[in-house]
């Protein structure tokens, strides 16, 4: 009956044709353009907000100040504490870049989140990994940091080899891996979900059997609801990536009491 229901292969959903520098590692495609746009938007918002900064914030300045306030109060003070406030620029850049990149998922005509490709999640996670390890080494010294990171206090001697093994794997391999995969998979899953319902809607709407057309309402309503849900996911994933960065930095630099 619905013979024409064709779900596009996944390569068509996440791979884009190069526009510039085709065939080189520096090929520019839609994902890269979205990333450039994110950088431009984030830079533009904070630049205009700080240029004409007035005591009573209006417009763009409101937005920028609310974001800074959220990163400071909602993320840094909750994880690193007062002494982590000098990380505000880094975490703010991370948060707003991921957020804008994700929100392109629900912008009409673009509808692709930059983070549904592994490029930024992987690079971001590696960057965070390098930074928290560097900060830990700076705080405790190399040997001290290894001991701090892998030997939890109060573990019985007999259990120590097992605990150290688990801690090494989780601290140096699983943490950055899961940080990258969490952002990437959430965005990819959201993108596939929206594509599924969009394909379903168009197939039912163009079906040759007349009585199928009213059923289009169901996937269409679902599509609208999921678009709202994806907005929530976009904000939540940016928040979670940033707050986990804060947690990892706090864990690497903290001192046992």
């Amino acid at each position: 009956m619905i013979g024409s229901l064709v779900f596009p292969p996944i390569g068509h959903l996440v791979q884009w044709k190069g526009i510039l520098f085709k065939g080189t590692p520096f090929e520019v495609n839609k994902t890269v353009l979205i990333m450039w746009a994110s950088v431009a938007i984030v830079f533009g918002v904070f630049r205009t907000a700080s240029r004409r900064a007035s005591l009573v914030p209006t417009g763009v300045q409101n937005l920028a100040e609310a974001t800074v306030d959220f990163v400071q109060n909602g993320i840094i003070l909750q994880t690193i504490g007062e002494e982590g406030l000098h990380f505000t620029p880094f975490l703010l850049a991370l948060f707003s870049f991921i957020l804008v990149g994700n929100i392109f998922e629900i912008i009409p005509l673009v509808q692709f989140p930059a983070n549904a490709r592994m490029a930024f999640p992987m690079f971001g996670a590696l960057m965070v990994w390098a930074i928290y390890n560097y900060l830990g080494v700076k705080e405790h010294g190399f040997i001290g940091y290894l001991k701090h990171a892998t030997v939890p206090p109060g573990v019985p001697k007999a259990m120590l080899p097992l605990v150290v093994l688990i801690e090494v794997v989780s601290k140096f391999l699983l943490q950055p891996f899961s940080l990258a995969v969490r952002l990437f998979a959430n965005e990819l899953a959201g993108h596939l979900l929206l594509v599924t319902f969009a394909v379903l809607s168009t197939t039912l709407l163009t079906a040759h059997t007349a009585f199928l057309k009213p059923i289009t309402v169901l996937p269409a309503v679902m599509l609208i609801a999921l678009t709202g849900f994806e907005l929530l996911v976009a904000v939540l994933q940016a928040f979670i990536f940033t707050i986990l960065t804060g947690v990892y930095i706090a864990a690497a630099t903290s001192h046992e009491h």
Partner: protein, 89 residues
């Protein structure tokens, strides 16, 4: 028996492998979603209990809840990635 003999359908080994891969991917993702589903339920349920008992601590509880969800959810997401890899590559 006669049914099998009468059928002139040739079964391609490649097709069977592809089908088995799809079945495995589906079962794998379903299994990967069970644990995190239960886990997120426990996390959010207890967070709601905490917020109801102490509404003034709601902000802190909410932050910690999202952290707990993020850690729990990671397993389901790894399952999802494995599903995509099995199904589409």
């Amino acid at each position: 028996m006669s049914l099998l003999a009468a059928s002139n359908v040739t079964i391609n080994a490649q097709e069977i492998l592809k089908g088995l891969g799809a079945v495995g991917a589906g079962i794998g993702y379903g299994a990967a979603a069970v644990g995190p589903g239960i886990g997120i339920g426990i996390v959010v349920g207890n967070a709601i209990t905490a917020m109801a008992r102490q509404p003034e601590a709601a902000g802190m509880v909410r932050t910690t809840m999202f952290l707990g969800i993020a850690f729990t959810e990671a397993l389901a997401l790894i399952g999802f990635v494995v599903f995509i890899l099995l199904k589409f590559t």
